[in-house]
Amino acid sequence: MSFLEKLLAIDRRIIFLFIAIAAALPLFFTVKLHIEVTPIVNNVYNALEALPPGSKVLLSMDYDPGSMPELQPMAESFLRYCFLRDLKVIIIGLWPNGPIQANIALEEVFKDEEVKNRNPQYGIDYVNLGYTVGNEVVVERMGSDIPATFPKDYTGNKTEDLPLMKGVKNYNNIDFVYNLSAGYPGTYEWVIFAVDPYKIKLAAGNTAVQAPLVYPYVQSGQLIGVLGGMKGGAEFEIATGKPAKAVKYMFSQSVTHAVICFFILIGNFAYFATRKKKGS
């Protein structure tokens, strides 16, 4: 067996080891990288900047811990931004983990000194309406009646009694919707069941797996913009002037991508070289 054939038949655990090292090692270093804010993320930031203070923003948390490294930084940077800009946040979840992920993000955001000074109050500056089963039917039902869809918040308070929810009947009373999505139900469902029938303004943060699927919605104007994966999250952090977790991970992310590209090139080189040899 030649060297190249051995290279092709390499034990997969050796590849695993390379990836583990490539991902872990850069985490120990703090490297300041150049991160450009792409137009698709800038669109989201500009749309948020255009909202006057006091605007009501709906945050739909549609993911679970499996997508936390990608979407949790987006949730934190978005909540931080909203509290500092005095935007009122209504949190819901189409995934059962959404509301608890929101609480985890809020705990983190409340550690920020600037946010602490603002002292956001539950029921006045933000509410967490919890989760309702039903996927896209939930999105559809909210178009006619939000308090009927979420009669109580996640702790059992009557939704209509919460000061922030006074006068909020349906999407007509929501200024902006921000969806953090890891799959179904998520951005697709928000576009199909809320943007087109109820004309809401929607922006999204997606896992990188899902981001390419929603690009046609951005081109058609159904979606204002999208934060794609951890890089999208890092761009948003840069745009809001508060670099945080996503920016921190970018060095590791870069190294792992480079290693994967290297693997692809080596794999192809070995494959074609051995094929040529066999052919001759």
Partner: protein
């Protein structure tokens, strides 16, 4: 009775929802709201059905000593731990500081997150073993993947910063994503939409009835 009732329920509910799209006024919108509220309750019971079925399957596995039967106890333990604590904590069970929140943090979160994270290794292995430029189509796939992989991280910027603005990897990635990628995705999207529309109509008209007959 076994087949006709489900078909009738499907047609009544489905066509009401289609009518209300064009006439969103009383009484149709009231019917829509009512059907949707029923949907939520039934969907919640469907989740319970899944959970109870999981318990049943694992009880069988344990009772008949099927392969891996000791792990059936672990499934039961995990299930009842969360349910009992969740019920005990009451309506505010998701509040920071509750036992349920703690268990979520130390059990659900690490298990779920790690389960998905191991895919990173398999993606890497697949890239090395199976990602070959065997023909024109495969080469296009490979090139697009590499451009996006490099162009979407800061590394791509440093690799191509010597190029004029507009021709760097980041710019090329933006162009690929905004145009050819969008075109391909859109073709798939429209194709799926047409498929969903025709399947929905077949279901509502009773032409597709496997769900009602169980055959």
């Amino acid at each position: 009775m076994r087949r006709e009732v489900p078909l009738a329920i499907t047609a009544i509910v489905g066509f009401t929802l289609i009518v209300v799209y064009f006439i969103p006024h009383p009484p149709f919108n009231h019917f829509r709201n009512f059907f949707e509220d029923l949907f939520f309750i039934v969907a919640a019971f469907a989740i319970w059905l899944g959970c109870l079925n999981l318990l049943k399957v694992n009880a069988d596995r344990f009772y008949f000593k099927r392969k891996g039967w000791p792990f059936a106890i672990v499934v039961w333990f995990g299930f009842f731990l969360m349910v009992i604590v969740g019920f005990w904590d009451g309506r505010g069970f998701m509040n920071p500081g509750t036992t349920f929140y703690y268990l979520y943090d130390i059990l659900y979160y690490p298990l779920n997150a790690t389960m998905f994270s191991i895919l990173a290794f398999f993606v890497a292995s697949a890239s090395y073993r199976a990602f070959r430029a065997r023909n024109k189509e495969a080469t296009m796939l490979l090139v697009a993947a590499m451009v996006v992989m490099l162009g979407r991280v800061p590394f791509g910027y440093y690799l191509s910063s010597w190029l004029p603005e507009g021709w760097r990897l980041g710019n090329i990635t933006d162009w690929v994503m905004d145009f050819p990628q969008t075109a391909g995705q859109r073709a798939i999207m429209i194709g799926i939409a047409l498929g969903i529309v025709s399947s929905s109509l077949r279901v509502l008209l009773g032409l597709e009835r496997t769900f009602a007959s169980g055959e």
